[in-house]
Every structure is written in C-alpha cells, then in structure tokens.
C-alpha cells in the first residue's frame, strides 16, 4: 500500500512529473529565446509562474457551470500522469504492463484535449467556445496519422504492449531504423497534440485572446499549465519509448540519464520546429494533415506489414 502511494505521489508520479515538466518547460523556453537571439528566462521562471498563479484568486464567470469548470483541470492532470505508468523508461518493463497498454496510453493522452473542449464550452464565453470547437476540429486532423505511426511500430513487434515492444527491439537491435518515417510523422503530430505553433490554432492569441483558457485564472489555470507541461513530457517519453528503444539494458542510473537525454532532445526538436513556422489556418491544417501526413503514415504501415512478413521467417 505504501509502495503504491509512493509510486503515485512521488516517483514516477505527480512530484517527479511536475518537477521534470517544469524543467522541460524552462529548457524549451530558454532554447526558443536563444534561437531568437534573446537572453531568455532564468531557470526558476516556470516555478515562479506556477507559484504566482496559485496565489491568485479563482474567478468563475456567472454563466459558467462551476462543477465542470473546476473539474476539468484535475482530469487533465490525472489522465496524463496515469499514462506515464505504462511507458517503459529504462529497463524493459514499465511499472504496470498488460497486453494492449499502447492503446490505453493513446486513449489517456486524448483525454486532455477533451477536457480543453469541455472546459472551454462550459465557460460560456464567446472566445472560449470558438477555441473549444477548434480544439476538437484539430483532433480530427492529427489523431489518425499519430495513431497509425505508433501502431505501425507495434505491428512490427507483433504485440500491443509497450514493455514487450521494448523487449522485441532490444533483441533485434537495428529494427528501429525501419520506423524513421513514423518518427517524423509522430514529431509533427505531437506539435498538434501539444497545441504548439504551427498548430496552436485553438489557442491563437491574436485571434481569440486565449481560446479555451480565456476565463481560467488562479489555481485552476495553474493546474492546467502543469497538465500541459506533463503532457509534453509524457508525449516525448512515449515517442522515445516507441521509436528510440535502444540502450535499455544498461545499468539503471545510466539508463535514467539516457532517458532524460532522449526526452530533452525530442523537446529540443519541438522547440526548433516551433521557431521556424508561422501558424496555419484550421482549414489549411486539415488539408495538410489529410493530404500529406495520412498517406505517409499509411506508407509506414505498409512497410511494417511487408517487413513483418519478410523478417518473421
């Protein structure tokens, strides 16, 4: 019982994820600033932002539904934190694993987007409602390529469990090279899931003020921000576990270090992509995802199927 509480609250539960999330946010913001030839924030900036938000008053609009309004940030944080338990970090086994957990992880990562929609919808403000609707529309565009690229990797390993996939790729060391198209697609669609430029349409500052989060303030907004940071970590670790499954047999301390390096390099790639693009319009995004990304993901799926037939001989 004590062990379970330790896992949930400290490691790899809420405390570790929050600290790592804040550190990754600092890394992202500092790199973004240096790419733009600026100095950037000091290391304690995300923590200072969180403390400031927690110290402010929660203002709930009169028209809004108070229960839904207050519940949505908590759901977002718990869903992403739960998904972390099933991802193999170092060593080949995650804390909990069963056959089919890759589907569960992907499902749990969809829940934050639904909470953004419901939180914005129940805020009853015009800007939030437009942002909420855009958030769901964007979901239809990037979900399919993301799922297909991850499932292509699972197909090659002939299993639906993340831990067994890690085992498969450790036994056959160089097979991860076949999934490089999937890695590229997953990086681009991860930008859509995390709502960063060029896909930060639901939260377009210059068009709809702050989209879903227009009416949120104080502690609830602080929890939403932590949930977004944790989602970035969990998404990056999912990509690291699925597409970069090497070095899993090392000593745990070294393995932990390697895991942190993998996650931070994925965050760095996302930062660089964030810097060089402008924001797309929602219809342009739909066209881009369905015209270019979905066929490429389909191609990756075909490659996996053919290779499975050839290699499992």
């Amino acid at each position: 019982m004590l062990a379970q509480l330790f896992y949930i609250l400290i490691f790899p539960g809420l405390l570790f994820l929050s600290v790592f999330g804040l550190a990754a946010e600092f890394f992202d913001r500092k790199l973004y600033a240096r790419l733009q030839n600026r100095v950037g924030p000091p290391w304690f900036q995300p923590l200072a932002d969180f403390i400031k938000l927690v110290g402010k008053e929660d203002i709930i609009p009169d028209d809004a539904n108070p229960n839904m309004f207050k519940l949505m940030p908590i759901f977002a944080l718990t869903a992403t934190a739960t998904a972390f338990f099933y991802i193999p970090l170092w060593g080949m086994n995650a804390y909990f694993h069963f056959n089919g957990d890759v589907i569960v992880v992907l499902y749990l990562l969809t829940i934050p987007t639904l909470t953004f929609f419901l939180g914005g919808w129940y805020s009853r403000s015009l800007y939030s409602q437009i942002g909420a609707v855009r958030s769901l529309t964007q979901l239809f565009a990037y979900e399919v390529p993301l799922f297909m690229s991850i499932l292509a990797t699972a197909l090659l390993a002939d299993t639906w469990s993340l831990s067994e996939m890690a085992l498969f790729y450790t036994v056959h060391p160089w097979y991860w090279v076949f999934n490089l198209i999937g890695l590229a697609i997953a990086l681009i669609t991860l930008l859509g899931k995390l709502e960063k430029v060029p896909f930060d349409i639901p939260e377009a500052e210059t068009e709809i003020v702050a989209g879903t989060f227009t009416e949120y303030s104080g502690r609830l907004f602080g929890i939403f921000k932590i949930a977004i940071d944790v989602e970035a970590i969990v998404g990056a670790s999912l990509l690291a576990a699925v597409f970069l499954p090497f070095g899993l047999t090392l000593h745990p301390a070294l393995g932990f270090l390697l895991f942190i390096i993998k996650v931070l390099s994925i965050v760095a790639v996302l930062s660089v992509l964030r810097t060089i693009f402008a924001r797309l319009r929602i219809d342009q995004m739909m066209i881009f995802c369905w015209k270019y990304l979905a066929p490429l993901a389909f191609l990756q799926l075909l490659i996996s199927l053919i290779l499975k037939g050839v290699l499992i001989r």
């Binding site: 015009l126 409602q129 003020v209």
Partner: protein
C-alpha cells in the same frame, strides 16, 4: 449554423490601439462586419488652437508615435507656406533624411507586427532587433528614439556632422543586408505564403472607389505617391522608384513595403551625398500673417493631409488633420467579405492601422431625426455634465477628489 457576434476590441491582443469591430460569425466564417471609430479621440485639433505655432509643432508631433515626423513636417510646411518663408536647402535635406529614416523604422515595425499576427514570433524578434539600429541612429541625430523634435518653423533644429554621416552609412549597409534576407523569407517560406496569399483581396476598381492610399492602394495597382506627384522638401531632386504590385492581397502589401525599404536605403545614400552646405533654418516671425494652406506628406502609411488657417495672431485659427488610416479603414469591410475569423488580425494589420492618427471629430448625427448638427464647445460641455448627472454622478464629490489629485 449558429450565429454569434464577437467583439474584436476595444481591448484585444490583435489590436495595438483601441478600436471596436463587431464581427458576426457563423462557425468560422465572417458574415457581417462593423466598425466604430473614436476611442482614441483626444481633442488635438481644438488643443492646437489654444497654443502658439511653435508649441503646436510639438503637439502635432505627438498625434502618433510612429509617423510623428510626418505630422509635424506637414504642419510646418503649411505654416511656412502661409508665411512665405524660404527654407534653406540644407534644412530641407535634413528633414527628408529624417523622414526616410522614419519610413524605414515604420516598415520594419510593421513587418514584426505582421509576423506576430500570423503567429510567427521569430520574425517579430528579428525585425525588432534590426529596428534598434535605426532607433540608435535617431537618438544620435535628433536626441530621442521616437518623437524626434527636429522640425521648427523655418527649418530644422540640429545639424548633421560628418561622423554622424559615417554612422548612418554603416547602419544603412547593415540594414540593407537584413532586408534582403527578409525578402527571401517572404518569397519562399511556405507557411508565410500560405497565410498571406489570397487574403484580404481588394481589386483595383474597389481600391479606387473606396479611396485607398499608401501601400494598401499601391498593392492593388494604384500608382500614386505624393513624393513623386507633388514633391515637397527635397524629393524633387532625388531619384527614386514608386513600388507597385499587382497581387491585390496582403502578400502584395508585404512586397510593396519591402520594396519601399530598399528604395529608402538608396534615397538615404543619395541625400547624404547631395547634401548642400549652408544654414539649417531661417528665423520665423511669431505672428503668422492671415492666410490658409493645404499641405500633403507621404507618411509611411499613405497620404497625410494638413490644413492650417492663420489669422495674424500667434495662435492658429483652425488646424485640420486627415490621417491615411481614415482613408484605408473603409476598405477593411470589403476585404473581409466571405473570409474566416483567422484572417481578421492580419487583414487589419495589413493596412497598417494607426488609430491615434485617425480619430478626429467629423459630424454629430442625431440618431432619431437622422440630421447632422454642429455642437459648440460650451454645448458639448453642458451636454456631458447633464448626461453624467442623469447617470448618478455626484459632482461635488468629484470636484473635491480632483482637487486633491491635481495639487
């Protein structure tokens, strides 16, 4: 489809200055669009009548922060025409030099703002870093980074020394290289082209009918530029090209402004080479003889028109300002027909709005009888007191609080 009316402004992250746009949306599509001006009205035309001419030079400069030299030069040109002053050549050349540097400053600022409106913050940071070169040059030449204060009636106040000329040439060389890079980005970065092309289309006939001026009109093929058609200051002696474009959309306006930047660098080099020696100002009388004059100036946003009427005393009788944004704002409703909400910020930003310049009192319309009327200053004062009294404001308390604040 569900219809909502969403207010853009008066306070909104897309607008740099307060203005109210009421947008009726159906999903993401814009069905109706309404504009209400007047949130930035400060009574500058009336204030000009209460101050002497030399004080008005500084007041007209503060009509706008970015086209400040445009307003003060237009005013000073009108007064010099009424008084019949012959400004020495060197003064005119220095005025032109500051005007062109201000155009560079304004267009670089616009590039950054356009980048921010389409979500491309990197372009914002880079162009505003390059803008610092121009601001430092202005601080060196005129003594301040914005609101230059270099005009005076009869010429300019400060001279340009040879060391400063060397600094200007160095700065212009650096800026030219950076501008060439931005032209490359604008013509080949996919996301930028996707966001800017086909947006805010204004055909040539519509632009002529609605009276678009400046780069907004020039991107629709209207070949008008006050610097060439009605030369003032030193523009009659400098060679330059007027940049027009046929794209008719926001992308065309971007290309026009980038082209104007390159032309400005060439003009600055010509001015520095051709600058004649001599005095920089002639002494102007304090009382300007009666007369009226109409002066035009090509501000970075378009044609700026000032009208001044003098009656022989130290203070002007009437000053009227027509800013270029007032002419361009009527085109926004036409440009946004059948577009999406996501296009709205960039379309408004593409006319380079400067609402501080725009708000002047035009006419008072009685909504019930639909007749126009003029209110005198005392009538307006009495009407305002009556309105506030009806809405429950206690004037004795207010007077006490005001006396405490403004000791």
């Amino acid at each position: 489809m569900h219809k909502v009316i969403i207010p853009i402004g008066p306070q909104h992250p897309a607008l740099k200055e307060p203005e109210s746009f009421m947008v009726a949306l159906s999903g993401e599509k814009i069905t109706e669009f309404g504009v209400r001006l007047g949130y930035n009205h400060r009574g500058i035309e009336k204030a000009c009548e209460e101050r002497t001419y030399i004080q008005d030079v500084y007041l007209t400069e503060r009509i706008c922060g970015i086209c400040s030299h445009a307003h003060s030069s237009a005013f000073v040109q009108a007064v010099e025409e009424i008084a019949g002053l012959a400004v020495p050549k060197r003064g005119l050349y220095i005025r032109t030099l500051i005007g062109e540097l201000e155009r560079v400053h304004s267009h670089l600022l616009w590039l950054g703002v356009a980048g921010h409106e389409i979500g491309f913050d990197t372009l914002l940071m880079y162009t505003w870093r390059d803008r610092e070169i121009v601001m430092d040059l202005m601080a060196l030449l005129t003594g301040n980074r914005v609101n230059y204060g270099i005009n005076t009636i009869g010429g300019v106040r400060r001279d340009v020394s040879p060391e400063q000329i060397k600094e200007i040439l160095k700065g212009v060389d650096a800026l030219e290289e950076r501008t060439k890079y931005y032209i490359e980005i604008a013509s080949s970065e996919t996301t930028v082209i996707e966001r800017l092309s086909g947006v805010g289309i204004l055909s040539h006939e519509d632009a002529l009918r609605l009276g678009a001026v400046g780069p907004t009109g020039r991107a629709s093929g209207i070949d008008r530029d006050t610097r060439r058609d009605d030369p003032y200051a030193a523009y009659g002696e400098i060679e330059f090209k007027v940049v027009t474009d046929n794209h008719n959309d926001v992308y065309g306006r971007t290309l026009v402004r980038l082209g104007e930047l390159m032309e400005s660098y060439k003009m600055i080099r010509q001015i520095l080479k051709k600058m004649p020696d001599g005095p920089i100002a002639i002494k102007a009388p304090r009382k300007i003889p009666p007369g009226e004059a109409f002066s035009r100036y090509e501000a970075p946003r378009g044609e700026n028109v000032h009208y001044v009427k003098a009656n022989g005393t130290e203070k002007p009788e009437r000053v009227k300002v027509r800013a270029p944004t007032l002419a361009n704002i009527q085109t926004v409703a036409k440009m946004l027909e059948d577009r999406q909400l996501a296009d709205l910020p960039i379309v408004i930003a593409a006319i380079d709005p400067c609402f501080s310049c725009t708000d002047r009192l035009i006419a008072v319309k009685d909504l019930e009888t639909n007749k126009t009327n003029t209110l005198k200053w005392q009538d307006l004062h009495a009407y305002s007191i009556e309105w506030h009294r009806e809405h429950g404001v206690d004037f004795s308390q207010l007077n006490k609080k005001l006396k405490g604040m403004l000791k």
